[in-house]
């Protein structure tokens, strides 16, 4: 089972995303803070990472930068989820090293398909 690291402080959101990912057959590794997320990303080497940008402590952008700094190859796709639906966020997020970007609210029925499309994985 492929692992997906979800870094999200909101428990409700975490639960919702977990449902969506498990439905497709992923194993979800939850992390509530950025620091925890960096540690788990290095240790577990997940298939991809879902990153909430608005985190307590170090935010999603910084977390992304740290994960990218720890990697040799920079290949883990990082999917940013943000509620800041404002112009310029996309640029900041991509500059920090994220692979793709989705705005809240997410639709549990379609989000995983959208992520697959963004990181170039064929739906099984």
């Amino acid at each position: 089972m492929k692992k997906v690291l979800v870094i999200e402080d909101n428990k409700d959101n975490m639960r919702l995303i977990t449902y969506a990912l498990q439905k497709v057959g992923y194993e979800v590794i939850p992390a509530e803070t950025g620091e925890e997320g960096v540690e788990l990303a290095i240790r577990e080497r997940p298939f991809f990472i879902i990153m909430d940008i608005n985190l307590p402590g170090i935010d999603g952008l910084e977390t992304t930068r740290r994960i990218r700094a720890s990697e040799a190859d920079g290949t883990i796709p990082i999917i940013a989820i943000t509620s800041f639906a404002m112009f310029g966020d996309r640029k900041k997020v991509i500059e920090a090293g994220c692979t793709a970007y989705f705005e809240k609210p997410i639709d549990p029925l379609t989000i995983v398909d959208s992520i697959h499309e963004a990181i170039g994985v064929k739906c099984e």
Binding site: D12, L16, K23, S83, I106, D107, P108
Partner: protein, 929 residues
């Protein structure tokens, strides 16, 4: 001659010597070789003989040597010497080189006294040595052996003399052969050369004669068939041709001399050294200098007959350009290798002369300059004629130009050939610009045609024409011209053209007209105008005078003016006449006169003197006006004036009073305005505060709505997965209820999104973020988002938009289009939705400025006309048959309108027909790349 004979004899000598030399060399070489071989053979034979003799001596000697038998040894030696005439001496020596026996042939010439002395002194070896020294002896030695032991040596000396004698004989024989051969070859050569040289000598003699100029040579030997015959015949024919050529040349030279002498121009030529080589007869006649005096002279001698001094002429310029010399010619030019010049001299034999000269270099057939030729033409007569003609012409010109009348000449086609100064002034163009032009170039069509017709009569019919006509000139001034046109004839008696003389009589005409006008004015004047002589006799009398005084003109003409003067004014006549005589006018003199009927009349009189052309006073004019009426009017006017003045004073006082009141009112008004300004300022502050509050409100709503969205997210998310039975099966009723939660949640979410957008726009937080994109792609994207819902409702969709790049905020425009689309879809149950897009560019605007027009047309319920203004208000949902079933926030159109107007700086227009459908059009200014 001696040179030639020397050369000829040297040819023979050289040939002879050459042949003899070659033969001698051959004989010498072969002779030398034979001699050398002979000498070697002789020497070898001598050596062989010597060797055999010495060996014989050596063989017979050992015993006698061992036994010291000197006699035998001496005998042996003697025998050897005597057996052969060539042996000169023989010696036997022991191993210690002591001579044991010897014999010298005393008779041989080689045995000199010195040798004989040495032999006598027993110094045999020294004697042999001395003989060897002469080089005429061949000495050979052989060892005397006893077994292997050497006992001594046998020595023998042989004379070369015999051998040398033989060789000498040989050499002498060879010399004789040599002499014979050389003599024979020389004789043979001389005979041969004589045979060849004789005809050559003949030719040479002939050539020598030809070279001295005698061409009448007769050659023998032309009948020979060999090369010399050919040469002789060729020479003869060459001589004949040369003879013909020289004759021809002499003839043509003669002809040329005749031609040159016949030339009408004085012609002379020089060689490159400047010496005169030709001086023709015309030159003799022109200058008086004879050819025989001139020919051969150099150093500019040729200029003396022309100018009296030595100086370079044109002929020198033909050879070498010189600016200095060119200056001597008033007219000078070069033309295709020639130099041409005109000059003037006073030093000719008959006085002054004008000359036109041409000079050119002379070339030979190789193109080398061999001299120069100059031809001088006497153009004195022509020059003098020209000068006279020029003077006459100038005089004529002066006369014509000083005429005040316009004078001009035209050809048969009415083109100007010339005109005078007056004409130039008149037309306003110099003569040079008038020539070859016609009147059509200066006047209007009508005028020019008229003039042309007149000209035609003159040149074709030979008439003299006199006309008087008004002419309008190019600058617009009009003149009356009195024109006389006469034809002029050429030498052949044909009419060549015409001469015109025009007089401007505008002034005269105007004066005449003015005069008649003046007369009319006088005649019809209301005033009485009388002309009188200095004596006071009436000479003219106008109608006014008739009316005023009652006399008719014929009644009073010739009478004295005193009949008009009342008795109490009798003195006036003298006073007036006195004034007039002094040339002083009298103006507006008020007095009284008597009419014919005796009644009095009040008059104002103006009297002016009348002068003739010379300024002399000849009479006076009297203008009298009836002032009876005026006097009465004046009195009335005065009264009226006084009344008016009084009224003005009263009115002024009234005005002053009102003015004071007005200024008081003005002050009050200013106070009010100030008050108003104060209020306006308060209002403005309040308004600013209000705006700030409004912004705060919008921000509050925006953040509030954002916070609302987070829990709503969960509501929608979880109800959605429950409804899709991810967690487990739900029954139909539960599923229905979950669907209601989901729908309500989604509605609430879109409501909140719209509220956020509206608040952001109101708070000024949304700024246009332009990017470049394709109009068609944008509409396609918008349509793709609603296509599913349209299909579900079974509505038709039409899209028409061109592929066109534009620059604008794509995201916001998409939002607007999407809102209009979903709006259209909501209110349409049947038919379909049409989306059309285009970019309109106004021709007057900048090329990159355009307006994007996107219209969404539906076949829905439409809008009542009275409802149209409410369309774009927030939360307005019009009463409609579908209201209950149509979902919506009521913010869609309001938001789109705000976006279009405030963010995209455009507008949304609505047209609708109730019950039939609506059309929403977004118009946004865009930049077209």
């Amino acid at each position: 001659m001696s040179d030639k004979s020397a050369r000829r004899s040297s040819i023979i000598t050289r040939l002879t010597l050459m042949v003899a030399g070659i033969l001698a060399l051959a004989v010498l070489v072969t002779g030398g070789l034979a001699l050398f071989k002979q000498q070697r053979q002789l020497k070898q034979a001598l050596e062989a003989k010597a060797t055999s003799l010495v060996q014989f001596m050596a063989q017979v000697s050992p015993l006698s040597l061992l036994s010291f038998n000197f006699v035998e040894m001496n005998n042996n030696v003697k025998k050897v010497v005597q057996t052969d005439e060539e042996v000169v001496y023989a010696i036997i020596i022991n191993e210690y080189k002591t001579p044991m026996a010897s014999f010298f042939k005393q008779t041989d010439p080689l045995v000199t006294d010195t040798v004989r002395d040495l032999v006598a002194a027993k110094k045999v070896l020294a004697a042999a040595e001395a003989m060897k020294q002469s080089g005429r002896v061949l000495e050979v030695t052989a060892p005397i052996l006893a077994g292997k032991e050497r006992l001594g040596s046998a020595i023998i000396g042989l004379s070369f003399d015999k051998m040398r004698r033989a060789l000498l004989v040989l050499i002498m024989a060879m010399g004789i052969v040599l002499v014979v051969i050389i003599g024979f070859s020389i004789t043979l050569l001389l005979v041969m050369l004589r045979q060849i040289l004789r005809p050559v000598q003949t030719l040479t003699a002939a050539a020598t004669r030809v070279s001295t100029g005698d061409l009448n040579v007769v050659l023998t030997g032309t009948d020979r068939t060999d090369e010399l015959g050919i040469l002789t015949r060729a020479f003869a024919s060459m001589t004949a041709q040369l003879r013909d050529m020289i004759t021809g040349l002499r003839n043509s030279e003669r002809r040329l001399a005749d031609i040159i002498n016949l030339l009408p121009d004085a012609t002379f030529a020089i060689n490159p050294d400047g010496e005169i080589i030709l001086w023709n007869r015309t030159a003799e006649e022109f200058t008086g200098a004879k050819a025989e005096e001139m020919l051969g002279k150099g150093n500019h001698e040729y200029s003396i007959p022309f100018y009296g001094v030595r100086r370079p002429l044109l002929i020198d310029l033909a050879l070498e350009p010189s600016a200095e010399t060119e200056k001597l010619y008033p007219y000078f030019r070069r033309d295709d290798g020639k130099v041409i010049g005109e000059s003037y001299t006073r030093s000719m034999k008959h006085g002054e002369a004008y000359m036109l000269a041409v000079a050119a270099p002379l070339y030979d057939s190789e193109g080398t300059i061999t001299g120069a030729i100059e031809s001088v033409r006497d153009i004195t007569a022509r020059k003098q004629t020209e000068e006279a003609l020029r003077r006459e012409r100038a005089l004529l010109r002066c006369i014509i130009d000083s005429a005040s009348d316009l004078i001009f000449i035209k050809d048969r086609d009415s083109a100007y050939l010339g005109c005078n100064k007056a004409s130039e002034r008149f037309i306003g163009l110099p003569e040079s610009e008038q020539i070859a032009k016609t009147d059509f170039d200066f006047f209007d069509q009508e005028m020019a045609s008229l003039v042309r017709e007149n000209d035609r009569q003159v040149v074709e019919e030979g008439k003299t024409l006199r006309t008087e006509e008004w002419v309008t000139y190019p600058d617009g001034h009009r003149v009356l011209l009195d024109t006389l046109k006469v034809p002029f004839y050429g030498l052949d008696g044909e009419i060549q053209g015409l001469v015109g003389i025009c007089r401007d009589i505008t002034g005269r005409k105007q004066a005449e007209e003015a005069l008649s006008q003046l007369a009319a004015i006088v005649e019809f004047s209301e005033d009485a105008i009388i002309g009188k002589s200095l004596e006071g006799t009436i000479v003219s009398w106008n109608r006014g005078a008739e009316r005023l005084y009652g006399y008719r003109e014929e009644e009073v003409k010739g009478c004295s003016v005193s009949i008009l003067i009342p008795d109490d004014h009798a003195g006036e006549v003298a006073y007036i006449l006195d004034h007039v005589n002094q040339g002083k006018p009298i103006e507006h003199y008020e007095t009284a006169r008597v009419r014919k009927d005796g009644s009095r009349v009040e008059v104002s009189v103006t009297i002016s003197p009348i002068c003739d052309a010379g300024g002399k006073i000849v009479g006076a004019s009297t203008i009298a006006r009836d002032i009876t009426e005026r006097k009465k009017t004046e009195a009335d006017l005065r009264k009226l004036n006084e009344e008016l003045e009084r009224r003005v004073i009263e009115r002024t006082a009234d005005l002053n009073r009102r003015s004071v009141e007005l200024s008081e009112n003005q002050q009050a008004l200013m106070n009010i305005v100030e008050d108003l300004n104060l209020k306006t300022e308060e209002l403005r502050q309040a308004n600013a505060k209000l705006q700030e509050l409004d912004r705060l409100k919008s921000m509050f709503i925006a953040s509030m709505s954002h916070e609302l969205r987070t829990p709503l997210n969960s509501i929608i998310g979880f109800s959605s997965i429950l409804h899709d039975e991810w967690i487990g099966p739900v029954n139909a009723e539960q599923k229905e209820n979950l669907a209601i939660i989901l729908r309500s949640g989604k509605h609430l979410l879109s409501l909140i999104n719209d509220v956020i957008d509206v608040s952001k726009i109101e708070a000024g937080k949304i700024e246009s973020v332009p990017e470049e994109f394709d109009l068609h792609d944008l509409i396609t994207e918008a349509v793709s988002l609603v296509r599913k819902d349209l299909d579900e409702k079974g509505l038709d969709l039409q899209v028409a938009a061109p592929h066109q790049q534009m620059h604008m905020d794509r995201r916001r425009l998409l939002q607007c289009v999407l809102n209009l689309l979903s709006n259209a879809m909501k209110f349409t149950e049947q038919g379909g939705v049409t989306v059309e897009g285009r970019i309109v560019q106004n021709p007057g605007e900048a090329p990159e400025a355009g307006v994007a027009e996107i219209s969404v047309t539906d076949t829905g319920i439409g809008i009542r006309e009275e409802d149209l203004p409410k369309m774009c208000q927030p939360f307005v949902r019009l009463a409609s048959p579908l209201q209950a079933t149509v979902p919506g926030t009521g913010l869609g159109l309001y938001l789109s309108r705000k976006l279009a107007a405030e963010v995209l700086k455009g507008d949304i227009l609505v047209t609708s027909e109730y019950g039939k459908g609506s059309r929403f059009t977004i118009k946004i200014p865009v930049r077209v790349p």
